[in-house]
Symmetry: C2
Amino acid sequence: MGGPRFEPVRAVRAYERVVEQVEEAIESGALSPGGRLPSERELMTQFSVSRSTVREALRVLQARGLVRSRHGDPHGAEVLPFSPAALHKSMTTLARVEELSLAELVQFRMVLDAAAILLAARLRTEEQLAEMSAAVARMRAAAERDEAAFGAADVDFHDAVVRASGNKLIQICTDVVRSIVLKLISERIAGAPDREALMRRSIRHHEEVVAAIRAGDGPLAARLSRKAMYDYYAGYVPESERGALRALLE
Amino acid sequence: MGGPRFEPVRAVRAYERVVEQVEEAIESGALSPGGRLPSERELMTQFSVSRSTVREALRVLQARGLVRSRHGDPHGAEVLPFSPAALHKSMTTLARVEELSLAELVQFRMVLDAAAILLAARLRTEEQLAEMSAAVARMRAAAERDEAAFGAADVDFHDAVVRASGNKLIQICTDVVRSIVLKLISERIAGAPDREALMRRSIRHHEEVVAAIRAGDGPLAARLSRKAMYDYYAGYVPESERGALRALLE
DNA sequence: ACACATTTGTACGTATGTATG
DNA sequence: GCATACATACGTACAAATGTG
């Protein structure tokens, strides 16, 4: 009993060790966004591997959104600034494969948007409040005239809110989930017969939310935002799953 | 004005088109988990590309968690069941690159866990409630004796809650963020002088949450869980950022 | 504007260790 | 144990793209 507890040795591929080292260099800050990796041939010699191995590693790093390489660029692969693209990709995959239902996605947004609004009501500056107000004004101006502008103003509003909340993770996740939801139902939204009524109601809801944020009543603003999102999206969710959404409306 | 709006043609690499086609086959269901891709040589001929191109595509698909290839396996790469591993990886990268602060991560968990508990209070079955109760009992049994078991029981509790909530996206995200937070502060937790007091308080909080869920009082359960998480983690968050956490405690 | 050297993208061949039947 | 098919890794070769003088 006792004795040395040996770890099972998983056969680690050559390209993985290249990936690990480059990843470490990037995450530790030794390589920063805008910087360049050595050329592929240089990497071959530094890691003592073949070019194919180097290239497989580069493809993995590229898939993770850490670097980008361009055909013929003599400077080598470019280290990218952080972007939620990889997060977006993996969440989209989960959603596409029916692993995630529309109801779950909408519910997720109801939770996170409400939280962002609750935080924004307490932490916002006057300037941020003005941005929200301006975005709602743009929604009103665009309604019944330019649906794309209406959607863009809506995005601007939620973006201003989530920035005021001060939580980048909430910002990223709501961004990602919003675009996935829109992709899932965009054709149905465009063809909705009561589209204009939905927009008018949405604008009224947004105005109420802004008023509550201005008054500093976070819980009210959060409740209103959940209700607004339910009203806007519930029609696209199968009836059997709407109960789960209503559970958030108390 | 008007006229055909031509899309800019980005030079798409050969390996990307291989990735796209395989991805499409998987996400459309033509290839299901457990199934096998053709061998690399077979893929060469089917796509009319070289071996290196096939391999770069496979590395990307592997990085996205869609397939796994094993050295020497005569059956070809295996199509994997969908897992949040890729999501986990990209979120971890975000956190490691200091793009996300500990306060933001804890705040995110306060929001999502509270939401899961609110939903669980309304949607849970008797069996799920029993699971939560059993997990808290294990926490109590393990306290002051086996810290690893205490942590495991804690995880079991939150897992039972989030399963009862019925939202897989919340489940995935809380899982991911929890493990990231733990990794960030694990050494500090292990060395905390008041470790036992923290555990006792945590157990009491969990019991109160279970009681509220049993009583069907979702808002109370959610409030209690936010408070519990704040009490447990606030000590590790810099003072200047604790205000953002307290903003969730109303 | 043009030619140049360098780099990436892709193809092909070969050697070696591995998993399956 | 053995034969077979396979993935891993290396090396070479050439076309296409890029940056520079």
